[in-house]
Amino acid sequence: MSDKLDKVSAQDAVAAPATETPLVEVKGLKQYFNINTGLFKSKPLKAVDGVSFSIKKGETLGLVGESGCGKTTVGRTLLHLYKPTAGEIYYNGKKIVTKADVDAFRKKAAMVFQDPYSSLNPRMTVSDIIGEPLDIHKLYATKEERTEKILELMDHVGLNSEHASRYAHEFSGGQRQRIGIARALAINPDFIVCDEPVSALDVSIQAQVINMFDELQDKMGLSYLFIAHDLLVVRHISNRIAVMYLGKMVELADANEIYSHPLHPYSKALMSAVPVPDPKIARANQRIALGGDIPSPLNAPSGCPFRTRCPYATEQCAAEMPEFREVSGGHFVACHNLDKAN
């Protein structure tokens, strides 16, 4: 194990990472929700508990984890759809503090939602849906310019301009997701949070939308935070992947690295559980079966959140949360027992 790590770090030492300012940086982000547990009692639900990462310009960071691990909350808190309980968010090196900062950030950051059905207002036409961000941020001088921009956006995402006056219900799932993407692109953003944008789509349509995300990134130099649970899709689209478990980040590394050499016991189980669309590999695949279920975030275990399902858990894991540390160039893991697990 130590051999492997040394080799990797030696390689990365040669290719020293450029120290440019990341486009978006998050430090120690926490998001607690108060849950009423009795008439006058409430308890914090730690949806996100101390998450740090950065996204470079033109980069895609994939965020994976099981339902309830807080990945969607990270995306939403990042855009201040929720007010963060604690932590710092930087945009282009500038800390976001005031309402004005948030507004300025939102002019450059957009979001694409999972459900293409509930995220579009059924009473608005396509041109109104796409035009709304333009209205809010006053991005046009004349009415003609607004129409022109809307048609241009529709063209960008492969929607027929004749459909501008139609309503959302007249479109299929894939087309609706295109409308959602056009709306996100309306403000000409630098950064888009994609919250499971292809999960609700059929396989053949999924590939169309994934390719579109790729093309838009090449054309417009966009950065994505790509949240999804389909690991093959995430790996395809992401440069780096972060794995979350119960509100904490457990591993962060290059997409192929984390897929071929996961270090954290949870990432290992997660990667081995991915159903591989190849019968021979799938039959030979040794899956690491995890016992039990993900604990409730209301009663999260002490120390490392994964210790209740971890085959390598020790007393130390119950006592303290392992540090999220860099074990080799760009590969971060939070685990006390890496030697045993690998």
């Binding site: 099981e66 339902s67 059929d202 093959l232 189980a269 159903p275 019968p279 799938a282 695949n285």
Partner: protein, 349 residues
């Protein structure tokens, strides 16, 4: 004789807008102890095929005349509700995608399990309870005695699905139909459930019909695969044949549109267009409007089911074209001659 023989199954929904042929001439065999996968996009008719076998269709739907579903030699189509009641749960059991909606939230797990057992077998209450606890243990639920008195909301999604599986297997069915059993679950829980289904299938020797849109699940679970598009089977064969030697343009498209295992940097090749409107079915091959390789004949005539080899059949004109080109198909009858001239015309253009 196969355990389940489905022949020319046609199920239509009669709506105000017209007849929707959700399943249009589906035929397949299921052998004892085998796992059959049915894959396809939403609206391709895979669930309706399963519901037709169970005859749990909506009131607007009808299994049309000429369809035949034989279970162990017994004809199920038109057999009536009384017969079906002895089949459902006893011989064929079904589990659905969303475990929360298939459990009654107002009754305990124990009550629901025992109800199913007492309904289908002549066990008394005490025996049914014993059996229910045994089943919960089989699907790896800890402390089953205590869990019997709990309500569905007290269980996680994965556990609920395991309880539904326990319920389905309590009467030892010959066939288990699993309609997207893991789609609502997380990957590690999905792995647990698939593992469980695999081991139970081996232990109990039942056959499984696995309905899914996830090709990864199919690769992991299935011996044989049916690929459906617009209500009919476009390709069927063993899992290895379908994955390594796809012979229908739609199947090939599906394989190209998913990210590969090797994860090499390549662009996905999506299938263009959108799934077909079942109210306006074309005369030719239903996939032709989206098919990059479509020829003239594809738009005019529906291709016949053609044997690729003994384990593999596909409905695609491309195979005929290829066969003619490499000489393995000769112009035997007037029928094929006509087809081939039509194709010859196309390739000359």
């Amino acid at each position: 004789m196969a355990l389940l023989e489905v022949r020319n199954l046609q199920t239509s929904f009669f709506t105000d807008a017209g007849e929707v042929k959700a399943v249009n001439g589906v035929s397949f065999d299921l052998e004892r102890g085998k796992v059959l996968g049915i894959v396809g996009e939403s609206g391709s008719g895979k669930s309706v095929t399963a519901y037709s076998i169970m005859q749990i269709l909506a009131s607007t739907a009808k299994i049309k005349e000429g369809s035949s579903i034989k279970l162990d030699g017994q004809e199920l189509v038109g057999s009536g509700e009384k017969v079906m009641r002895t089949i459902r749960g006893n011989k064929v059991a079904i589990i659905f995608q969303d475990p929360m909606t298939s459990l009654n939230p107002t009754y305990t797990i124990g009550h629901q399990l025992m109800e199913a057992i007492m309904l289908h077998t002549d066990r008394n209450r005490a025996q049914a309870k014993e059996r229910a606890i045994e089943m919960l243990r089989l699907v790896n639920i800890n402390e089953p005695e205590k869990r019997m008195t709990q309500y569905p909301y007290e269980f996680s999604g994965g556990m609920r699905q395991r309880i539904v599986i326990a319920m389905a297997l309590a009467c030892e069915p010959d066939i288990l139909i699993a309609d997207e059993p893991t789609t609502a679950l997380d990957v590690t829980i999905q792995a647990q459930i698939l593992e469980l289904m695999n081991s139970l299938q081996k232990e109990l020797g039942m056959a499984i019909i696995m309905i899914t849109h996830d090709l990864g699940v199919v690769a992991q679970m299935c011996d044989e695969v049916i690929v459906m598009y617009a209500g009919s089977i476009c390709e069927q064969g063993t899992a290895d044949e379908i994955f390594y030697n796809p012979c229908h343009e739609y199947t090939k498209g599906l394989m190209r549109s998913i990210p590969t295992v090797s994860g090499e940097e390549e662009t996905l090749q999506p299938i263009t267009g959108t799934p077909i409107d079942l109210l306006n079915m074309p005369t030719g091959c239903p996939f032709a409007p989206r098919c990059d390789a479509a020829m003239k004949i594809c738009l005019r005539r529906c291709p016949e089911n053609m044997d690729i080899n003994s384990d593999h059949r596909a409905k695609c004109w491309m195979n005929v074209k290829q066969g003619v080109e490499d000489g393995s198909i000769t112009l035997a009858s007037g029928e094929t001659a006509e087809q081939n001239t039509a194709e010859g015309g196309e390739s000359n253009e």
